[in-house]
Symmetry: C2
Subunit: 539 residues, 2 copies
């Protein structure tokens, strides 16, 4: 389709952003500036286990979308042609004319926590400030890019940590959402994958793509009767003598695959080459890894890599490692040496964030400028964690005396906790839960939000993926082991300052006095059932 | 990034396809023709419930990828620069020179079951025939596009059916995988969604995008003290008098949202306009729908639509409808009339296929041409359902006397079951399970595979999304209600012909005599544990 690019530009948005834009234009609200915050509400919950931290990712793709997106001729022509139910045009010429001249994101300023950093719920990861219309229109794209990449970077990090930080390769493209595979690969690299099989995205990001051969290659040699698996392995070793990694489970890992691989490795060795190793893709991977390691050791290849793949995720890898520690000794294999020679190819369960396939990030109006004054906005909800933290804010990370991250501290914009002798840490929703920490028990207070865009222009260094990976590793190392735990992790502190807490409570009170009380009983019709029109939950 | 297109073209593939390609080139295997089959192994299993059918989708996006993808200058330059572990180049000039002249998909022929059709596991949905190298390279892209879109079309169909075929709108882009949102929208439309909020993709596919306003619009009016929700609704009605659908839960659905909506609807009515309705986005949707319906009825708006949204899927909708049937009467609301005025906005749980976020589709070598003769290929596995059906095949749908689909029947390519008096239906893996059906009990036998591409050229009509939707609806209507059941659906017959069964068994026997028996005991080291190097499962 020749106009396929239309689906990736400024029309990559939910339609209501555009109907609201026309309303803001007509009512004059388009002249107001607004501030929106992006945050997620909950760590991914995978069912039996859940995350205790997330890894922020996706910002750069969103910024690039902003830079290339504006209402051009084609977009305006499309909007002009759109009709409502009664065949009237939905968008009028005055609005479209205005949009033509105001159809980009030049007025937008953004501050964000950098990609690769450890992040937590209810903290603004990205704050957007600018004229109401563009600040609203970009919502869908921002949510799309950051929700997904943060989800995947988080999963990748868990998998990497679970695998004792051994090499991990993203194999997920065949189970990803179309071109979303490319976003998945980028996020996986930020979060923990060292390489990817996705060739194009590896190319763009400057990582060598990884992969050797599939079962089908061995099958082809078998079907043609040209020497089967051994011949296939030989052909591979012949062409890639210094990069020879063989998939050994097409027929039978221990009876055929490993013995054939050893033959070929011997031949390589005689010719002065060093084989890389083998890949196991089915069966009891822990057991097969032990037996394969033993056979490779005995054949004189103790340094070869053993790549594992097949429906891996952090829990499966955790169990494989536990089983190796239990079982390897019985076969005369040193478990820690074996674990240190493993690599992991991770596909489906990485790109779908197995167990929880969506991050619940939201983009909420925090303040709107009325004349020269910013007015904090709030949206009530019967679920307290859904009530946003109002106004312009700063975010700080507080480190304890050991240098471990102790809390993320959200304050009003003009506060600087580095000047305080004692910090009062308020739980975001529970009045009773408070903590204090004295300055003398704090090793560092670090501001987390960085200016990224000022009036549509980049104002910060654009980090490389490699830099983000280093940032991630540093942040992970500064987390308490309890927070990094796979199952039932310790809950990290996310706290509000006293002043932010007070503002929030004040706005809630104001709002509640304006709206009818909700705790009344239902009409006589249905006696005995409490009246909460929003509180009852379906399923 | 200026070369961003590289990630979407022919390099949108797993790297091993390219290392294998060079091997096929060097060994001369590139001259062989091969046939690969795409099929999925299992219906999506969502946990408490699972699918009894799938809806095929994604083919057109894959074909378009093929048409635009080939190894051009930039791709070849990239491959030329790639180095292995010892800094030797991975791809040699002879291979790259050959690839330059053979780097497209001109030799590929494809037959496929059309998009929108109901499909089942273990049936080849797409068969690819052509020179080994391009037929192998396209694997990753084919799997990516068809796995995902079939997954989403299936989920969309379940949701549509569960909602009594009322209007359903895709709201999923903010929780999709980057640009994968566009693939999701297309698949959702094929599978059951009537509209989408995704503006760009709606534009490309010719569907009017849908959506009205967000909470933030009401919040903005509240924060500015300019009349709150009522003023926001009025402004909206003023601009969109004939398309007025209001989101009523920003403050309190029954106390504020609906009363304000009714005021605005009254004003519209007086001006001669017909309001569309309201959207409920939180709380007990069944209860709120009943109460809202009652209030709208009493206010003289019995024909307005009530759109429900918020974490909907087939199970949530099923429960909402069940609850309405139980509870509406107590409020004097006719449940069936209410159900008929509902619409559903479905987001996260649609685009992530909540409960099962990946379809396990695979692409397997079925045959390879040796001289003039096709040789059937097989890959053994200890999991019988993973053993592929070998050789070139045809697929037929057999309808019983009632006109209901009775079985999908996979035969060798030269068989025509329409000429048989009795069909022998073999279970794909269980020898004992067989059935027969007499021609007189069959109302129709329909070939399912259609030629799509011959030597790289389109040879069939390219159906519109609307045509695919009609096809889907027809196929669904011809399924037994038991197969369409949400929970624990009846298992549809997928059967092999006698000749295909015999070929498969013969190849399995041949293969097994070539490879060592696997049922031996393990070494004395670990007595009492059965030896199956592939059979033990992790988790």
């Amino acid at each position: 389709m020749k106009n396929e690019h239309l689906a990736d530009g400024v029309l990559f948005t939910d339609f209501y952003q555009l109907t609201m834009a026309q309303l803001y234009y007509r009512t004059g609200l388009y002249k107001k500036s607004a501030q929106f915050d992006y945050s997620f509400r909950h760590y991914p919950d995978y069912g039996e286990h859940r995350a205790g931290y997330c890894i922020h990712a996706g910002l750069e793709n969103f910024l690039r979308w902003m830079e290339k997106s504006r209402f051009g001729k084609e977009e305006l022509r499309y909007l002009r042609a759109l009709k409502g139910r009664t065949e009237h045009r939905l968008f009028a010429d005055d609005f479209l004319g205005w949009l033509k001249n105001n159809g980009g994101f030049e007025g937008i300023s953004i501050a964000a926590i950098p990609e690769g950093r450890v992040v937590h719920p209810a903290v603004p990861l990205v704050t957007v400030k600018g004229p109401l219309v563009p600040a609203q229109i970009l919502e869908s794209s921002l949510l799309n890019h950051i929700n997904f990449q943060t989800l995947i970077a988080t999963k990748a990090c868990r998998i990497k940590e679970s695998g004792c930080r051994q090499t991990m390769i993203d194999f997920g493209m065949r189970r990803a959402q179309g071109q979303g595979a490319n976003a998945a690969t980028r996020a996986a690299l930020i979060g923990g994958a060292d390489f990817s099989s996705n060739t194009g995205t590896s190319c763009l990001l400057g990582y060598p793509p990884k992969g050797t051969h599939a079962h089908s290659m061995v099958q082809a040699f078998m079907a043609l009767g040209t020497g089967g698996e051994l011949a296939a392995f030989r052909a591979y070793a012949d062409i890639y003598p210094d990069d020879c990694l063989l998939l050994v489970d097409t027929i039978d890992t221990l009876k055929s695959g490993i013995p054939n691989a050893v033959k070929v490795f011997d031949e390589l060795k005689r010719k002065g080459h060093k084989p890389i190793g083998v890949r196991l893709d089915s069966g009891d991977l822990a057991y097969l890894a032990i037996r394969s390691a033993k056979m490779l050791d005995e054949a004189g290849f103790p340094d070869t890599t053993i790549v594992l793949s097949n429906q891996l995720d952090e829990m499966v890898i955790w169990q494989i490692i536990a089983q190796i520690r239990q079982e390897a000794g019985a076969y005369g294999v040193n478990p820690e040496r074996l674990i240190a020679r493993l690599s992991y190819g991770v596909g489906t369960r990485l790109v779908t964030s197995y167990g929880d396939a969506a991050l619940d990030g939201v983009y909420k109006l925090a303040a709107i400028k009325d004349g020269a004054r910013w007015k904090a906005a709030i949206k009530l909800s019967e679920a307290p964690e859904k009530i946003i933290n109002p106004g312009g804010k700063s975010v700080w990370r507080v480190y304890d005396a050991r240098g471990k991250a102790f809390a993320d501290y959200v304050t009003l914009q003009d506060e600087d906790p580095r000047k305080e002798k004692v910090l009062f840490l308020h739980h975001p929703t529970e009045e009773q839960i408070q903590e204090t920490i004295r300055a003398c028990d704090i090793s560092k207070i670090e501001p987390l939000l960085t200016d990224v865009l000022k009036d549509g222009r980049r104002v910060c260094h654009q980090p490389t993926i490699e830099e983000m990976r280093r940032v991630r590793q540093g942040d992970i190392d500064r987390l308490d082991p309890g927070v990094r735990r796979l199952i039932n992790p310790h809950r990290y502190h996310v706290s509000l300052s006293q002043r932010l807490w007070d503002l929030k409570q004040q706005l809630i009170r104001q709002q509640k006095t304006k709206t009818p009380t909700r705790k009344k009983r239902r009409q006589a019709l249905l006696k005995g059932r409490p009246e909460t029109s929003k509180g009852r939950k379906i399923i």
